[in-house]
Structure formats: structure tokens, C-alpha cells
């Protein structure tokens, strides 16, 4: 109603780099306003959210630790998003990955095999792929909307996790806490940076980024997927099958999320517990969009969201913000980004008063 949008011949590159920063600035300003209204110390909150994560070596290493799963999941999801196949249930696939991986140390608590953690990673990836595969099967077989099915499976995954932790997998020595035994040394991922909790799962994320980049830029299948998303009609004339795109997108997304879940139980957490995922699945959706669905762009956006996660933890202590402020900030970043994205794709003019309604839409 108030904007005239004229499509640019080519997206503006300068703006493409600037826009995520604008989005963060806007989200910071908007959250500051909301913190003020709810009576929280604004300065302390923003300092904790955006600055404190950079101030100490240990805080910064925690940022890298969080960045791993976010980047890994986002790379998997973006493949589907580019093809207009929306897996928004990565949270559930992450949980299944964690469950599948945890099964190994739970059933073999005395094993000291060096293959323990690699096997757990494989199991995790399979678990995630299985969960996403259910949605793929249902979508291909019955045409059921994958947005809703992947999400609903997420709720089911949570209940499955609860069942295992309150029942068969509960640590008998755990003072009745809903959690499994602590895993043995061989079930844990090797540390990457000595003296921190950063482990080799960070390398999984980097590897996934490189693979995704090659897949998107260099392979025919990746190209087909993208065209299928941009112009479904043209793609179907060219022999592109939607069911194949559904399978590829969801399986890769599930695989990545499952691997991230496995790396979380075998990494910083060291056991399966109820709070195994702190909203990684949803945050990864934001990472994917904020990175412009570009494999390299997501490296930056995952770093940014990891900063906000660690900052949010700090803010809980120093500025008495509830955990939810991280979600609030994430939502605002995405809102601002989506609006700002328009300036990349279109030349935007504010409409003059009295101009005709709905005109000028190309």
C-alpha cells in the first residue's frame, strides 16, 4: 500500500553484505525498547547479549561450540528451502539423532572401543534422516504438507525422549532425574581447541558448509533442486521430479540435524537429558534465511546467532532476562532481515500521496 517495488536487474551486492548488519541493529533497537517497557536494565542486557561473548576466551570458545550445530543444521535445511521444501521440524530430527546416538553408550556402558563415538555419529545421522524420512514418505505418498508433518513429528520426538528418560533409559543412580548415565570417555567427541569445550563437531559443520557449497554451485542435482524451487513448471518440463526433490531435501536436512544432535550428547552434554535441544532447530531456520540461503553466508549468520545464544545465557545472570529474550531477539532479527531483503531485490520507493491503490506491482 505504501511501497512501490521495482525489481532490480541483479541484486545489489553491497546491500547483500550490509543487510544482515542492519537487521541486527534493528533487532537490538527493538529489543531495547521492549526491555525498557518490561522494566529490564537495557544497557546491561544489550551489553550481555552482543558484547560479552567477545570479552573472554572462554566465552568466545562457547560461541564456537554453539555455532557448530547451528551451522550444520542450517546447511541441511537450506538445501530444502532453496527448493521450496520446508523442513521446519529440525528440532525433532535433532532429538532423534541424540536418542539414536545415546543408544550406544546406554546399551554398551562398558565398551572402550575407539569406534564408539564415530558409530554414535553415524547412528545420530541415521536417526535424524529416519525422522525426516517419515515426513518425506508421507509427503510423497499422500501429498501431506511437509511443514506441518515435520513440525508435528517434533512434538512426537519430545514425547519419545520423555518416555525413554522417565522409563527404560533412566539412570538408576541418577537420583530420579530424567536423564541417562553419563557417557564413558570413548563415547565423547575429541576436543578441538585444548582448554575449551570446542570439539570436532565444529569440523562437521565446516565440512557440511564445503559440501553444500559444492553441491549448490557445482552439481547438476543441486542446480535442479534450485530451479525446481524457483520455477516449478519449467523444472517439471525439464524432467525434474518433485518427489525426488522432497526426498533429497528432507533426508539431507534430517541427516544434518541428527548428526548435530549426536554431537551434542557426545560433546558438551555427555548424556541424554530432557533439555538436549535449546531450540536449535528453530534457530537454524533463522540462520539459513539470515545467511541468504547461501552456504558461505550461513557461516556468518550462524556465528551471529551463536553470539546471541551465549549472550542470552549471560544476560540471564547479569541482566535478569528470561531465556525467552533470545527467542525474542531471534524473531526480531528475522523480521528485520525479511523487510530489509526487499531492498536487495527491488528498488523501493515510498508511494506519493494520492497515487492509485495497488499500482506499480510488476
Amino acid at each position: 500500500m505504501w511501497l512501490d517495488l521495482i525489481r532490480r536487474e541483479r541484486p545489489s551486492t553491497a546491500l547483500m553484505l550490509l543487510v544482515p548488519l542492519i537487521a541486527v541493529a534493528f533487532a537490538a533497537a527493538a529489543s531495547a525498547a521492549l526491555f525498557t517497557i518490561t522494566g529490564k536494565p537495557v544497557g546491561a542486557a544489550l551489553y550481555a547479549l552482543l558484547i560479552e561473548p567477545f570479552m573472554t576466551r572462554s566465552a568466545f570458545s562457547e560461541v564456537l561450540l554453539k555455532m557448530g550445530p547451528l551451522l550444520l543444521i542450517a546447511q541441511g535445511l537450506a538445501i530444502g528451502f532453496r527448493a521450496q521444501i520446508f523442513n521446519i521440524g529440525a528440532e525433532g530430527q535433532f532429538v532423534l539423532g541424540a536418542i539414536f546416538a545415546a543408544a550406544i553408550p546406554v546399551y554398551f556402558p562398558d565398551s572402550t572401543s575407539i569406534w564408539l563415538w564415530p558409530l554414535m555419529m553415524v547412528m545420530g545421522a541415521l536417526g535424524g534422516a529416519l525422522w525426516a524420512g517419515l515426513a518425506a514418505f508421507w509427503r510423497v505418498r499422500t501429498n501431506a504438507n511437509e511443514i506441518l508433518v515435520t513440525l508435528m513429528l517434533g512434538f512426537v520426538a519430545t514425547q519419545l525422549l520423555n518416555y525413554l528418560l522417565l522409563g527404560p533409559w533412566k539412570d538408576p543412580m541418577g537420583f530420579n532425574f530424567p536423564q541417562t548415565v553419563m557417557f564413558q570417555y570413548e563415547a565423547m567427541l575429541p576436543t578441538l581447541i585444548p582448554g575449551t569445550r570446542v570439539n570436532v563437531s565444529f569440523l562437521f559443520a565446516i565440512a557440511a558448509t564445503l559440501l553444500a557449497w559444492v553441491y549448490v554451485k557445482r552439481s547438476f542435482s543441486g542446480y535442479q533442486l534450485m530451479v525446481g524451487g524457483l520455477a516449478p513448471d519449467a523444472a517439471s518440463y525439464a524432467g525434474f521430479r518433485e518427489s525426488r526433490a522432497v526426498w533429497i531435501s528432507l533426508l539431507i536436512g534430517g541427516l544434518a540435524a541428527g548428526l548435530a544432535g549426536a554431537a551434542e550428547v557426545a560433546g558438551p552434554v555427555g548424556q541424554l537429558q530432557r533439555s538436549i535441544s535449546t531450540g536449535y532447530g528453530f534457530a537454524a531456520i533463522i540462520v539459513a534465511y539470515l545467511g541468504g540461503l547461501n552456504p558461505l553466508g550461513m557461516v556468518f549468520s550462524s556465528f551471529l546467532l551463536a553470539v546471541i545464544y551465549i549472550g542470552g545465557d549471560n544476560a540471564m545472570v547479569s541482566a535478569e532476562l528470561p531465556v525467552a529474550s533470545v527467542r525474542l531477539f531471534q524473531g526480531l532479527v528475522l523480521i528485520a532481515y525479511l523487510a530489509a531483503l526487499t531492498w536487495i531485490r527491488y528498488r523501493v520507493q515510498w508511494r506519493k500521496r494520492g497515487a492509485t491503490q495497488d499500482g506499480g506491482r510488476a
Binding site: L5, L148, L160, G331
Partner: protein, 301 residues
Amino acid sequence: MSAIEFILSGMLAAATPFLLAALGELVAEKSGVMNLGLEGIMALGAVIGFICVYHGGPHLLAFLAAGVIGVLAALILAVLALEFRADQVAAGLAVGIFGQGLAALIGKPYESLTTTGLSQIAIPGLASLPMVGGLFKQDAVTWLTLIAALVIALVLSKSRLGLVIRAVGENPQAARAIGYPVIRIRYATVAFGGLMAGFAGAYAATVYTPMWADGMIAGRGWIALALVVFGTWVTGRVFAGALLFGALSLAELAAQAKGVHLPSQLLAAMPYLVTIIILGVISSNKLRMKRNSVASLGKPF
């Protein structure tokens, strides 16, 4: 009270939050805009409604406040999708995540507090019938929701306004060509969807279970979205779907109370499993899906 009687008497109240949110979403989708932010908008409505009632405000005020915040949150989506032509999936998710975060922030001091619900209004005579009498003893909001369902069904299928909304959803270019303000109509339907989602949240937190807790919407917003698909965009079928879910959530309670030997987690997962299965069964009927679905749903104009 037998299980059937228990389900019959509580079914409508349990269905009300689903129904309110799904009816609003139905109208928005009919005009071509889907709102994946329902879950977050319901959470906002719930927290605002709860705060009003907790501080002694009447329920009417609580619903008005929840409706207003629902409209405001939905307008964020409308601006993103209609002005900025953002992807509706991404925009809806953004609003949903933002809404849940904001609701938790505002509601933090009220976490796990409770308040009083609404009294029931019985239809004389009918309410004293055996077995089915409970159906005719409902709170005022449920009665109003039933009326709203009827009005929306009539407006969408029989009125000129409904025709315009459907035209905008079906073929926005043609609708504009014959002079309808497509964007304005879409703003209005999305705002209406936000209003109803705000009401739905307020109902959940001030009438159905008069309490606030982070995560209390528990996927109801997503199920409401699924209900619109279940109902293949037909009001009566959306209504039937909401009733089914109302009954299902009570069946869960009844089963737990009767000590049915199933893990409680399986019962808790039941609504989602049932959603997945029904979604597949209904979506596989291509003809039925095509007849009533909205041609321009989710596409920017």
C-alpha cells in the same frame, strides 16, 4: 460420569481455542495469505489475557486486549508479506518465534500463577437431558464461538464480501482488474486472523485452563493450521475437525484418569500423531483438495 458423557460435556470447550484460531486462519487463507505465526500470536493473546484477568479485569477486557495484540502481531506478518513481498513461510515463522519470545518475556512474573475462569451458561431444558445435557452447558465464549463459526461460514459462502475475499485468494490479478483493493483486503483478513488467534490464546489462558506458563499453547496454533487443511478450506469441515481435536484431548484425560495401561507420553503424542495421519488421508484425495483450495495461497502479489 461415563467417559462418553465426560467427552460430550467438555468437547466444545476443548475445541474452542482450536476453532477460534482455525476460523481466523481460514479467512486469511481464503484471501491467499497463510500465517505460520499462529502459535506465537496465541501465546501473546494468552499472556495479555491472563495478565488482565489476574489483575482483576473482566474477561471482556482480557479478550479485547488479547485481540488487539493479536492484530498487531498479525500486522507484522502482513507488512512483511504484503508490502515487502517476503516469503510467507519465513515471515510467519519469524512472527511466531518473536511472539513466543515476547510472550515469555512479558509473562515471566506471572509464570504458573492461576486465576478464575468463566461460569457456564446452560440452555434451560436441554441442559438437563441425560447423557448429552453437558453439551448445552457452556461458557459464554464457547457460545459466541459457535455463532462466529456460523457467521463466517455464511459470509464466506453466501455474501458478496465472501465472494470478494475468495476472488482475491483465487486470482488476485483478476480481482484487481475489476477494481478490488487486493492488498487492503488481505491486510484486513490477516488482521482478522490475528484477532481470532488472540482470542484463542486468551481463551486458553483465562477460561479453559486459567493459568499462564511458557509453552502452554503446546502446539495448538500448529494444529489450528492443520485443521484448515483438514477442512479443505470449508468452514463446516474445519468445525468438525476442531470438535474431533476437542474430543481427542479429553479422551487423553479420560484415559489417564481411568488408568489405561499406556505410557502417558504416548497419549500426549496422540494429537500430533492423529494430525499427521489425518493430514495424509485428506491430502491424498487430490480432487477434494483441489476443489476448495486457494490458488494463490502463499504467493506474493
